[in-house]
Symmetry: C2
């Protein structure tokens, strides 16, 4: 029979990266994925109109870590797309994060870069909030003042988390990026891009190694008992692994409505945020990512929801305390050398794509 | 644990169709595939230039069977591409199969449709061959005469099979299509097309059923003993299943050289045959299939080879006799109700794509 040295649970970025590193170190790996496709929430595909759509919402790869950048570039070329986001506020498409141009267009005051900071200080001075900030609302107001908070953050946060921003931790907003310059990019990382043939194809290549077998459409927990291997790399939900023994960890999910319009472009940027209008948080127009020249255009309307596939950890105190309990169990298992827990779901931690890969590289580099 | 009612071996058209039909009849199915991708030799992907390339050579879907057409249309829209092939002969791109235009351009005689047949009869009359035809060469000459045989068939056949056409069975050429009309299509089937998002995506959809699990990168024979299920649908190599007990069945394989050129189009049709010049049999230019509008173009040069992935059965007497022996064993296994052998490899039979699906529909329709 085929003997596997390692079992990897989950075919997202954490799982595929881990499987590859194990395979390259000479181990026979079985990767198990519940869904019928690889690539986790990075899954994308060309739709019938020739547009590469991200099934689980927009994924833009960005990193400052050259080791991570080098790793992904082994498996795909990248289009050097630099992400820009507009926020639809007061009937205008305004650059977001807030920068000098946002302020100029919103308030009609074209400030020199040097004066943006004093403008914001004045905005903050005129606002009411607790010092030190007690919650998300206080935290953002302490940085941009009430007016900008109300227009750009409040409504979006309520939609995103379905919670009063006063109940959310100030930590979430610790680093609201605000730019006094005219830099309109969403990310300022050194390396940014989209895999030219999509994430799914890139991850197919990551998995294309003679030591890797992939089992799709099977729940790990249904076959766990029958798997014998020296090492299990688990990238699934943390609480599920332990049978929810300390209670359920909350996840925020998303629902997407994909619509294709018979027009060349639908909106002036790949992503437009809707903090105040409508029930969706944002609209993504996919053809921008790879500059696909086709006559139609596909967009997704994004609605945060409570139930569904897990997307975001929910940083409430209760969840964080539960996480701690689970992580103690994880540490015990990891000390045995038989388990590694890695990734957004398994660590119940908000990671960007590059951070997931970075973690996997750290934890699974046997050749290094 | 997960209990599978059926195991399907091989993720080509035979395997994926069978898995789907079993799943829809309520059976839990495990599909096992040796390669790390599904879709068998239909596997395609968008390359970095935006061109959908068929990794294992050009696949054009064509059928007269409306049940088959209906089946594939459940899983993909089709671009209604009608395949045209040119044959590069005497420095000219000529329509193939031979039709009225081919004769006109080659010989400079623009015959009315009604006279094409008598022209060919005259060609045949002036030629030497055995009656009844003893081999491939005789058979073709008896239909088109020596001149056309030499220019269009002889060299191609030698390249394709690496055999003297005199040694090949007349059966292979039983139906050389020759058209007295100006119909320049390669196929005349009622339904023709290419899945708009490619074959791989279509087959992903075929497999996207809650009762289907897929295991990639595992050789069935390595885990055979551990699989317990009521039914095994085998679509792999016939001789391999029986441990080559009656000897090896010969397969003809292909080697592809993919090259991307910095030009809009490389040649005037998707496929150009090279019966006489160079070592390749044909060049395929992929952007034609889906009419992909991109600045570069990717082509494949196709070289028949003896060793490699199995593509074509080799219709020699020896192979046919071996096949008979194996098929007797197959019949025994199938009578037990525990096995079904279906597809090009498992039946050692030349099937077009639609015929494979037709067979699978016949053998595995429990709902019908």
């Amino acid at each position: 029979m085929v003997r596997f040295d390692a079992v990897v649970v989950g075919a997202g970025l954490a799982g595929t990266t881990s499987a590859r590193l194990l395979a390259e170190s000479g181990k026979k790996v079985l990767l198990i994925e519940k869904r019928r496709h690889i690539a986790g929430n990075c899954y994308d595909y060309k739709n019938e109109y020739g547009i590469t759509v991200h099934k689980y919402g927009p994924h833009i790869f960005h990193t400052n870590n050259s080791r991570v950048w080098k790793f992904v570039n082994r498996f795909s070329k990248f289009r050097y797309y630099q992400h820009r986001v507009l926020s639809y506020v007061d009937g205008k498409y305004l650059p977001f994060p807030i920068n000098r141009d946002t302020i100029a267009e919103l308030f009609g005051v074209d400030l020199p870069t040097a004066e943006v900071e004093s403008f914001l200080r004045e905005e903050v001075r005129r606002s009411k909030f607790n010092i030190p900030p007690q919650n998300f609302e206080d935290q953002v107001i302490s940085q941009v003042g009430e007016r900008l908070y109300e227009k750009f953050f409040k409504g979006y946060t309520i939609k995103q988390w379905n919670k009063d921003p006063k109940e959310l931790s100030a930590d979430i907003a610790k680093r609201v990026p605000i730019r006094s310059s005219r830099d309109g990019r969403y990310f300022t990382d050194k390396y940014q891009g989209i895999p030219v043939q999509g994430y799914t194809r890139m991850m197919e290549r990551i998995l294309n190694h003679e030591n890797i077998s992939v089992l799709l459409g099977v729940n790990y927990f249904d076959i766990k008992e029958e798997l014998k291997s020296d090492l299990t790399v688990y990238t699934g939900k943390l609480d599920e692994f332990f049978g929810y023994s300390f209670g359920r960890l909350e996840y925020r999910s998303l629902r997407f409505e994909f619509i294709t319009y018979d027009m060349e472009y639908y909106q002036p940027a790949a992503v437009v945020n809707y903090p105040n209008d409508y029930d969706w948080t944002r609209i993504t127009e996919y053809k921008y990512f790879l500059d696909e020249k086709v006559p139609k255009t596909t967009v997704s309307y994004e609605y945060p929801v409570g139930e569904g596939e897990p997307y975001y950890v929910v940083l409430t105190k209760e969840n964080m305390m539960r996480r701690e309990k689970y992580m103690k169990e994880v540490k015990k298992l990891e000390r045995s050398g038989e388990y590694i827990f890695v990734g957004r779901l398994a660590e119940y931690k908000y990671y960007n794509m590059d951070q997931v890969i970075e973690k996997a590289l750290e934890r699974l580099s046997f050749n290094a």
